[in-house]
Amino acid sequence: MNISKEEIQHLAELSRLDLSADEIEKYRVELGSILDYVKMLDEVKTDKVALTAQVSGLMDVFREDKVKDWNKTEVELALNQAEREKGNIKVKRVLQ
């Protein structure tokens, strides 16, 4: 399957991945050949087949909607790489 350079650039944008020109060309070729391969599924008749999203054998697992305090040292460990200000996580500017 022929995927265009623009399609790969669009995918990279959606995936939030900064790619070099070499990477774009590499993925253009590789994704094309992988998609060609998986297209073999077209030969299987599936009109009346239900789809499988998961195999746990469980449905609608409920629990009480209760707030549980997470261990403070674990929270600190989890967030200590983030830039923080007044207890909030600071991110880069969203709007220009």
């Binding site: 790969i8 995918l11 990279a12 944008e13 959606l14 995936s15 939030r16 991945l17 900064d18 790619l19 990477e23 993925y27 590789e30 994704l31 050949s33 992988i34 998609l35 391969y37 998986v38 297209k39 073999m40 599924l41 077209d42 299987v44 599936t46 087949v49 239900a50 789809l51 499988t52 999203a53 998961q54 195999v55 746990s56 054998g57 469980l58 697992v61 629990r63 261990n71 674990e74 929270v75 600190e76 460990l77 989890a78 967030l79 790489q81 983030a82 996580i89 991110v91 880069k92 500017r93 969203v94 709007l95 220009q96």
Partner: protein
């Protein structure tokens, strides 16, 4: 015999009889890691001080008369499971300096059982691969031939067990990642039924097939570890209830002379096609002979949708990967590219620099097949064919109790031989994706050696596949076959 070479079963006896201590076994393992890891690159992190402290604690518990199957047993853990206070990288640059804030449920269970964590093992980045060549920290080498891969994605765990760096290792299997490296390294690899073992604290790859399981020196040991780590977990809503896992087989295994009388084992013809390496066929047929001798009945069966396993897997997996890896945005943890001027650019630069080639490939492939206009043609199509693959197994398990297949179509290949062709690497999973997509338990046990491309002989595994939650029957048969 060196203490690091012991099986869990042997070490248990020695520890309980006071013939050795957890600290002595731990020191022997640490010494072996130090001696071999430079060549093998099986471990990414070794936590020697923590291990010694845990070993001393285990010895104190033993001294007080406490009994426990894994009390004082040193192990290594695949670096995709969270280990509190210990670096957890998923073999990715994006998590190079990440310290896990809590333990995965399986790690917590082992800690409570008194097992000793020695360190973290190498893998394909985020478990994407079949050779451990996709690790950002270099490939793991096969202990039987340093020019060859250890398999993947749990190559580090398999190589570590094969080279006696530990008594057992934890690993994860999404589409063969426990079984295939176990086959390549000549050890035992057990993928439990989906939902048998908690995934809490396992860095998610393909949530609908991810399973945590052990790599061990014997089938007996695999069962011991499985017993310690399995069970319903409040923190993983997909874990099975006790009611679901309480199954009993119709197969009667009692007679001492013909211990497998009444057992029916199926050989699926799609796993033994004409182009299968005759040596691989011979190794499996040798196991068939043992099964027959023990009284089992062998039946040829068919799983006609087998050949669609790989295309289904490589649509479903990238789809789930693209979603699961979205959380790595550089903000609360992981690699950051501070020079970005806005949030969008920060995401793109951090992720572009942090993820390796295969992770990026899967993220984009998943994003493609899930996008508007392609969703029905790829993702939904794969989900329906997945149903047909599951139905194949359901039908066959009405005729037989277990299936026997090769784990891999060949022994370990040379490092670099397949890494330039992503599709060739995907085809490595040919015999292992079926059980994963269907949530079935499967085990790879050593089946001898086969000649490999480039010369020499390398280990090969035989795979048993069982109906969901029939681990106990599968292990019983695998134990018997391994013994004789």
């Amino acid at each position: 015999m060196n203490l690091n070479e012991l099986t869990i079963q042997e070490a248990r006896l020695m520890l309980d009889e006071g013939k050795t201590s957890a600290l002595e076994i731990t020191e022997a393992c640490l010494k072996q890691i130090e001696a071999l890891n430079g060549d093998l690159n099986a471990c990414l992190t070794v936590c020697a001080e923590l291990a010694r402290a845990e070993a001393k604690m285990a010895d104190a518990r033993l001294k007080q008369g406490e009994k426990g199957i894994l009390l004082g047993i040193p192990y290594l853990c695949k670096d995709i499971l969270m280990t509190k206070g210990v670096r957890t990288t998923a073999a990715s640059k994006i998590l190079e300096n990440y310290i896990a804030p809590y333990d995965a449920t399986v790690v917590r269970k082992l800690k409570e059982a008194g097992a000793v964590l020695l360190g973290k093992t190498n893998l394909d980045e985020f478990a994407h691969g079949a050779s451990t060549e996709n690790s950002a920290y270099g490939p793991t080498k096969n202990p039987y031939d340093l020019k060859r891969v250890a398999g993947g994605s749990s190559g580090g765990s398999a190589a570590a067990v094969a080279s006696n760096m530990c008594l057992f290792a934890l690993a994860s299997d999404t589409g063969g990642s426990i079984r295939q490296p176990a086959s390549f390294c000549g050890v035992v690899g057990l993928k439990p039924s989906y939902g048998k073992v908690s995934r809490f604290g396992l860095l998610s790859m393909t949530s609908s097939t991810d399973c945590v399981g052990p790599i061990t020196k014997t089938v007996f040991d695999a069962e011991l570890v499985l017993d310690a780590i399995s069970g319903r977990d409040e923190l993983d809503a997909t874990t099975a209830t006790a009611e679901m896992t309480n199954v009993s087989s119709n197969a009667v295994l009692s007679s001492a002379v013909k211990p497998l009388a009444g057992l029916k084992v199926g050989l699926p013809e799609e796993y033994f096609l004409k182009d299968l390496n005759p040596e691989v066929r011979d190794r499996i047929m040798a196991i068939v002979d043992k099964l027959k001798l023990a009284g089992a009945e062998i039946k040829n069966v068919s799983l006609p949708y087998t050949k669609y396993g790989i295309p289904v897997y490589y649509i479903i997996t990238p789809s789930e990967v693209s979603s699961n890896l979205a959380r790595f945005d550089g903000i609360a943890w992981g690699l950051k590219k501070e020079e970005a001027i806005n949030l969008q650019e920060f995401y793109k630069k951090s992720r572009g620099a942090g993820f390796g080639a295969e992770a990026k490939r899967r993220i984009m492939l998943g994003t493609y097949v899930l996008s508007a206009g392609y969703y029905d043609a790829y993702y939904k199509k794969a989900q329906t064919v997945r149903t047909l693959i599951i139905e194949d197994f359901n039908k066959v398990f009405k005729e037989v109790d277990l299936l026997l297949t090769p784990t891999s179509p060949h022994g370990a290949f040379k490092i670099g031989d397949q890494s330039n062709d992503p599709l060739a690497m995907y085809l490595e999973d040919i015999f292992v994706t079926g059980a994963s997509l269907s949530g079935l338990p499967a085990i790879s046990i050593p089946a001898g050696v086969v000649t490999v491309a480039g010369g020499g002989k390398m280990p090969l595994g035989a795979q048993f596949i069982a109906p969901r939650f029939y681990e106990s029957l599968m292990l019983k048969v695998a134990k018997l076959i391994s013994k004789n």
